[in-house]
Symmetry: C2
Subunit: 598 residues, 2 copies
């Protein structure tokens, strides 16, 4: 059975040493966060995830969710109790304003919690995760009445949330959606239509479910400009906030899917269900985007979480499993064979995953800190640069961390040999669960197009130029720093490739958008490599400084950190040249193939 240990120490290193969280002390919610308080919160988070959520991960996979004839859906055994522990621990409203019952802690802490929860039990984590997304959308776009009516119950965890976008004939292309909203005299709407792939659409964890639903108001324009966002509760809510009778919402069926069996993926039928408009009519996509951006970051973090838990288990197995002898001669003569971790190829796999995870965690926290600045700073300029950063990094984090997270789960599974394919060992579940993160909240091809087609050119390239100039500044500052050379030199090469690729798009894709589309996936991964490489440069810098000052027994950990970073630089960054070559080969060959020849 797999185990999980939340990487609290690594998070502390990142927040305290690498990113200097104390520098954010002037922002609301950060002021009381001494290193001790921070560690206490993270330890509580770790405990819940390690002791309550993780042991239910396999149960969730085996048992799955069950839809009963009356449309009720029950979650796997133990999920209700775990949900109660999560809810009563106050984790739902961790970084939500106190006004609605939240704790107003930094979103950065919530991002850490999201990693721990996803690693421990992704299927479980989706229930509160979707509520958090719905809360975010209502906070930004809901009327005061809607906020008062729904938010306290949702933040308390008594009611949960969902997002309803996809229909059978449309996922990416929401302009095709057909769900109808008919205005009633009282300001409410009657919603009718069918939504599919609705995660946590129906379940038994909460007394009510608050669906956020995209629909088209009768007579609205065709396409994406006629879409509005509605809140549609499963049970009607009376004026005094108490629960009324059933609304016209029901779960038609639950999907049979590759993984995340513990989460109910529902077909939701809306039949004259009463709903309330969120934000402006016909501007539903804007409102939904608040939820989607939160969700995209959260999904990227899921990729990291699964990569981390898969790594941890593979490392344990590699130290336990005795098989063969080291290529350089027997290392454990007293044992019938050496543990397989003596083999370079096993270390290559483990370090590929480990070196990715540590940099990905840094990228997530670096970006989450910007989200806190965006939402909490009084400095308009700081808010703008943070917003730029978030917009730019969201598709990179979603796309790269989930593509690689899956790939890493597959690599970790490989360490187990035949046992990796057997369900009892748990590794194949990580692979199946990790696979969804590449698809939902915008398939990764869409993330790549978002990066290349929208985020790069936005505001004259302001966001990407800010990132480039930060990396350039770092490279210049450390150009003659001998100790940093193993990190700076490879980063410089990869960064050069990214600059060339960006230039290539400017010269070749403006008039020929197919050239942008053809290179988008490679560009996203090239961008990710450079961003992760930059994270390693920052981490190496901090680790070197700390090591120089160390007299605390942390030397081994810091040396391993530095070696792990070198591994990333030596083994992962060389991929940048291949990405550039593919990008600059353009679209001509692929577009010349006749459609019928596929």
């Amino acid at each position: 059975m797999p185990t999980y240990k939340a990487p609290v120490e690594d998070v502390m290193f990142l927040l305290n040493d690498v990113f200097g969280i104390e520098r954010y002390g002037n922002l609301p919610g950060f002021s009381d966060l001494s290193p001790d308080t921070l560690e206490a919160i993270l330890s509580e988070a770790a405990k819940l995830c390690e002791e309550v959520l993780q042991p239910l991960n396999r149960v969730g996979d085996l048992e799955g969710c069950k839809r009963h004839e009356d449309g009720r859906v029950t979650t796997p055994k133990g999920f209700k109790e775990a949900y109660e522990a999560y809810r009563s621990g106050g984790w739902m409203g961790l970084s939500v304003p106190e006004e609605y019952g939240g704790q107003n802690l930094p979103a950065t802490i919530n991002a850490v919690m999201q990693e721990f929860v996803s690693a421990a039990n992704l299927s479980f984590g989706m229930y509160p995760g979707l509520t958090q997304g719905a809360v975010a959308a209502i906070l930004v776009h809901g009327s005061n009445e809607i906020k008062q009516k729904f938010l306290p119950k949702m933040i308390e965890g008594a009611w949960s949330g969902t997002m309803n976008l996809t229909e059978p004939h449309c996922g990416t292309d929401l302009g095709l959606l057909k769900t109808k909203a008919v205005p009633q005299g009282d300001g409410s709407y009657k919603i009718s239509g069918t939504k599919i792939f609705i995660s946590a659409g129906e379940h038994d964890l909460t007394e009510n479910i608050v669906h956020l639903v995209l629909a088209r108001i009768e007579g609205a324009p065709q396409g994406t400009k006629g879409i509005s966002l509605f809140v549609v509760p499963k049970l009607k809510v009376n004026a005094d906030g108490s629960l009324g009778g059933p609304n016209g919402v029901s779960c038609g069926s639950i999907e049979h899917k590759m993984g995340i069996h513990g989460n109910s993926t529902c077909v939701m039928n809306y039949d004259d269900a009463t709903g309330y408009l969120i934000g402006e009519a016909n501007k539903g996509l804007n409102a939904m985007f608040v939820m989607m951006n939160e969700a995209r970051l959260a999904v990227g973090i899921q990729g990291l979480g699964l990569s981390e838990v898969a790594y941890q288990n593979a490392a344990v197995y590699a130290k336990d499993r005795l098989q063969g002898r080291a290529l350089t001669g027997t290392k454990f003569p007293d044992k019938p064979a050496d543990p397989i971790i003596v083999h370079p190829d096993i270390r290559r796999i483990l370090l590929s995953v480990k070196s990715f995870n540590e940099a990905a965690r840094a990228l997530v926290l670096w970006t989450a800190l910007r989200a806190d600045v965006l939402h909490r700073s009084g400095d308009a300029k700081a808010r703008q640069t943070s917003d730029d950063h978030l917009g730019l990094m969201t598709p990179v984090i979603k796309g790269v961390l989930t593509d690689k997270g899956f790939e890493n789960a597959v690599m970790a599974q490989q360490v187990y040999g035949g046992h990796g394919y057997i369900a009892e060992w748990g590794m194949e579940q990580f692979v199946r669960d990790a696979r969804i993160a590449m698809i939902y909240e915008g398939a990764n091809g869409i993330q790549a197009l978002d990066l290349v087609g929208r985020k790069l050119p936005r505001d004259g390239g302001r966001a990407v130029m800010a990132f480039f100039s930060e990396v350039e500044g770092f490279l210049k500052e450390h150009a003659s720093d001998e100790a940093m050379k193993p990190y700076v030199a490879p980063l410089k090469t990869a960064f050069g490739h990214l600059q060339q690729a960006t230039m290539w798009f400017m010269q070749n894709a403006m008039g020929k958008p197919d050239n942008a589309g053809a290179g988008s996936a490679d560009y996203m991964h090239l961008f990710g490599l450079v961003a992760l490489g930059y994270m390693w440069a920052l981490m190496a810098k901090s680790a070197q400084a700390k090591l120089a000052a160390a007299a605390n027994g942390a030397e081994d950990r810091l040396k391993t950190k530095l070696l792990t970073g070198r591994f990333f630089m030596e083994r992962m960054l060389p991929e940048s040249a291949a990405h550039l070559a593919r990008i600059s080969s353009g679209a001509a060959t692929m577009m010349d193939v006749p459609m019928e020849s596929f």
Copy 2:
């Protein structure tokens, strides 16, 4: 529901145009193979796979195999009838000597059939596939008595075969195995022990099952030099060939696994079961290697088969699914949206898979033809070069075709968006099924070590030098061929990287084997890239010649072939530089990380 169409036309192009199968007419079994006969055989194979085996693929996944309380195992509904169709069609003995009831057709034709069967229904294909492996081992190492007793029944399909290597504490490291063989007075042995992961270990398709079992004769040396191979039938076989009573063999349980649910993966218990030695005592690994090499090629072919069927379905979906509009403007104004195949990123995915499949198929057939020369030619020199080629290419085909086959299935699944994650669409089954091929018959890390540690240095590097000189010859011959430049130039670059990597090993890994281990996986994939690139160069040459002569309406197909090859050269070969960079970074960083820091 997924569909499958066997790529008969592509096979015909390869065998007739690219590899000139008529040049092999002097070998036994090839003489009657006119293009018409060949096409007739392949069409029959296609029919069985498309109409009988493929429709059972999902049934097999859903239903799985069931072990009953008495130890019997039943296969999914329809498998028995399908097996009867396969058996009575004579497919089991396709390339086996007529003496034992086979048809003595080229092993190359059998390789084609293996691709079709794996693509249609991998779980099903494993039943006859394991029999073929067992037949191969008995043919080479069995005594005449054993051959007469077992082969005709196996080739007829009345009895099936298995391989029993793995035990709970040993897979890769067979030197640790504990299963015991106690000699009886009559030349037989009593076998006792537990074997795990035994594919097709127990089932209801045949009246008897012939287990090939590795065990240690009492008193034999420790390690791999004390292992012998035994044939242990499930039901005893009387002297006259009729079936006797049960032997001491039973299925203790069947594994719950990620995929290939239609095949029974058994824990097999041997309890004083009567067995007969195959080959010499204590030389069981040699005898098993015959079976393993056959099986490794077959598993590589499975990777190709799954990649092909996943590609085909993704291509159909991409042409059907309407979503969004082309980046360059609406292409199908009469439809509510354009089919997603208009998007470069979808074409990138499809062509990545398609360009791999066509080259992988070429590599398999090129190598299978050498296997036929090895086993059928009277020319000792030709046999030797063929043996060299087979030894060299077996780990490459097994490792690269299964790693990429899985990756390709994942990419094809991505084309479906959310639907790719839903079981009914069948794509997620391809992914789950394809995953095992990277593990069984020697995990791919072992294939890479086999290539670098044994196959490269063998006979002073004779095999690799022969391959290098063939590629070099081709590059020289076409150095000034303008039409071939898009193929020759990238191949030359990648080939240069492979030569440099080989040189790097010679200079840096002889005394430091960790440097070989650390670079082995990258070397295997670099080798595969060059081999596949060379296949594309050969195919481009043939397609250009055929196109110049074409007046037969095949122009579109040939032009697509040439474009597909260009795509491979532009998009896949650039990876070679990254492999070289990783290889030449060596083992130092990874070996410096303390074991306890993982």
